[in-house]
Point group: C2
Chain length 142, copies 2
Amino acid sequence: MFISTRGRYAIRIMIDLAEQNSSDFIPLKDIAERQDISEKYLESIINQLVKGRLVTGRRGKGGGYKLLKNCQDYTIYDILVLTETSLAPVACLDDNGEGCRRATTCKTFPFWKELDQTITQFLSHRTLADLLEEHTGGNYCI
Amino acid sequence: MFISTRGRYAIRIMIDLAEQNSSDFIPLKDIAERQDISEKYLESIINQLVKGRLVTGRRGKGGGYKLLKNCQDYTIYDILVLTETSLAPVACLDDNGEGCRRATTCKTFPFWKELDQTITQFLSHRTLADLLEEHTGGNYCI
DNA sequence: CATATTCCTATCATATCACATGGAAATTAA
DNA sequence: TTAATTTCCATGTGATATGATAGGAATATG
Ligand code: FES
Ligand code: FES
């Protein structure tokens, strides 16, 4: 599996926040209920989104989370690159593993690079706004 | 990681067989040595390729494995679909999991489907012959 | 103060991956 | 026929990643 629950849940969090269409902070408890996902698990995911400056959080009564930008300004790539451990389709392309020793001679390497580019382009050409439009025809955003 | 070593090794096996450019059976031991991969691990992989009719094997002295078709007639998709447990980028698309309960209403589902199609198209439009040409400029195949 | 909520640091169960072990069956060369 | 070779088959194993869970400290409201 390429995209794990972390990344998928992260996108659903972002969509949920966008759909509230509010300038208030939204408590994670509400998101967890609506999305039917463990609040504690979502916590660890949304923390990554906060650290990556995709959303901001406020503690205490009346606190919660809120988007920092308009949803057409979030690409799916932005969200996944923060929450997935790696977006490389094969280990040979992974920077953490210093790439592959065989890469210079291996006949498959150029192919993997092309696959990676294809996927990355796809993910970075779609925004949160695109996903919101899917089922409604209208745009929740702005 | 999307494609595991199984799929990657399977492709390298197929490339290795094609490069020998021989009508003889090639022993797995030789392939394992050339590719520097555990023979026993390759064994379980190439078995899947045999069962999927991509290659054929013969036991005993002078035995080994050999391709059944010309290499331009093998797509990368053909190879990976046999050796990877799933080529679905997300669990929501996986048939084994009967897909996702939320799929009908979830705003991310159409997006995942498009991603899946993009990847599948990429994989099924490249053949073994394409990979062989990468580094040589020439075509080993036929 | 009491309450709500984010933040932070662990821990855990399960599954998958990459590979190893130990043979049985088939094929050929001697 | 015998020995050597090689595919076929089933099962085991250690490491790692995934998908959570638990407990509590810090911060904000009223
Ligand atoms: S084995 Fe890593 S690029 Fe081929
Ligand atoms: S959660 Fe499965 S399609 Fe959205």
